[in-house]
């Protein structure tokens, strides 16, 4: 599996582990809406952010990155945000 694809899978697994109740039945793809189709409310989104930090060993606030939850509409948005955060984390380690 390509590195990007592996990361996508990790993030989708992360999302799946945060879905509850009737939304568990939804088949998650990149176009899936986080709120409407997966029922992720503000607390659910926060839980996702914190679990992401734990999984990848990053502290988003300390890195000075602002995650605009309002812009995260779909699974793909979240994957792209995750990639962005991790690339910035790697860049800061190199510098």
């Amino acid at each position: 599996m390509e590195p990007d694809a592996a990361l996508d899978e990790q993030i989708i697994s992360l999302i799946a582990s945060n879905i509850a109740g009737k939304f568990k039945k939804v088949n998650i793809c990149k176009q899936t809406s986080l709120q409407k189709e997966l029922g992720l409310d503000s607390i659910g989104m926060l839980a996702l952010v914190f679990r992401f930090e734990e999984l990848f060993g990053v502290d988003i606030a300390q890195m000075g990155i602002e995650v605009n939850v309002a812009k995260l509409k779909t699974v793909d948005d979240l994957i792209n945000a995750g990639r962005d955060i991790l690339s910035k984390a790697q860049a800061s380690q190199v510098s």
Binding site: K36, D41, A47
Partner: protein, 319 residues
Amino acid sequence: MDNQKHKYLIVDCHSHIASEEHTPLSFIEGSIANIVVSLSAQGVPVTAKKLTNMFLSKMQDPLADGLVAEMEEGGISKSVLLIPDFTFALKDCKLTIEESFNRHREVLRRHQGKFEVFGGVDPRWGKDGLALFERSLVEFGFRGLKLYPPCGYNPSDPALFPYYELCAYHRVPVLLHIGPTSPVLDFSISSPFLLDEAARLFPNVNFILAHGAVSFVEECIMMCRFRPNVYLDISGYQATLGYDPEATAIKKVVSVGINHKVLFGTDFPVFRLQGDQKTFVDALISESGPLAELNERERSLVLHQNVERLLESSVGVAA
């Protein structure tokens, strides 16, 4: 959805300036305590400090420039800024209530035509508070009274009657918080029925029950149906969108014959971690949203005409 941005005229009857100047840290930390309990129970690694810092990062808009930008994006032409007076109940407020009024007056001047302001005064401030409220109507150009009963007073307390007399004289509405709030305050005096005596004694004053599609929904509907001078706003509906994306509570409120009493509101910036104003407007007016089954006339009443009707009865002065 983008083409819906300008399809409807929208007035937000319930918003606040996003700044720690007007909301004490104890109030915010109290609200965050509930989120920490919820996340911790799910095994999410989180601290209150971290969450507080995240929320405070969204509270850095003292001149409301950010809010105006979000209104533009969401197609909201005007917003009512509310000033809840926490200064009597919570002692860690950064500003006095008079200073808070002055800051809002500056915002009113800065963004001509974008805002109206409802000033709030805790009735326990006595004559000074009443004088400040009157000045806000006569000199500052404010257009209503904001009450926050969970701070420790009943909306039918006779101490508020002089305020209601002023509201009747200047023909401005009263908007009061309904339902639970930050746990540092008193939930037991947040019921809409506590307003009943005041609403009966002051039939010429219009009262708006805030969050009427979120808390005590049946009671709020009842008050609106049977008291000609009682209205409700739907602000806070964003809290339910996660588990109820169709916003069925709002659907219920707009299906019981009181659409001449229902006002659109967002409670900005309370839900800024969840989305922006456009997100919240879109959720309401989308084809599957809770207002979809209303006809044009009813939708216009809810989105802007009802609040405009309440505001236009007041004379208003330059800010």
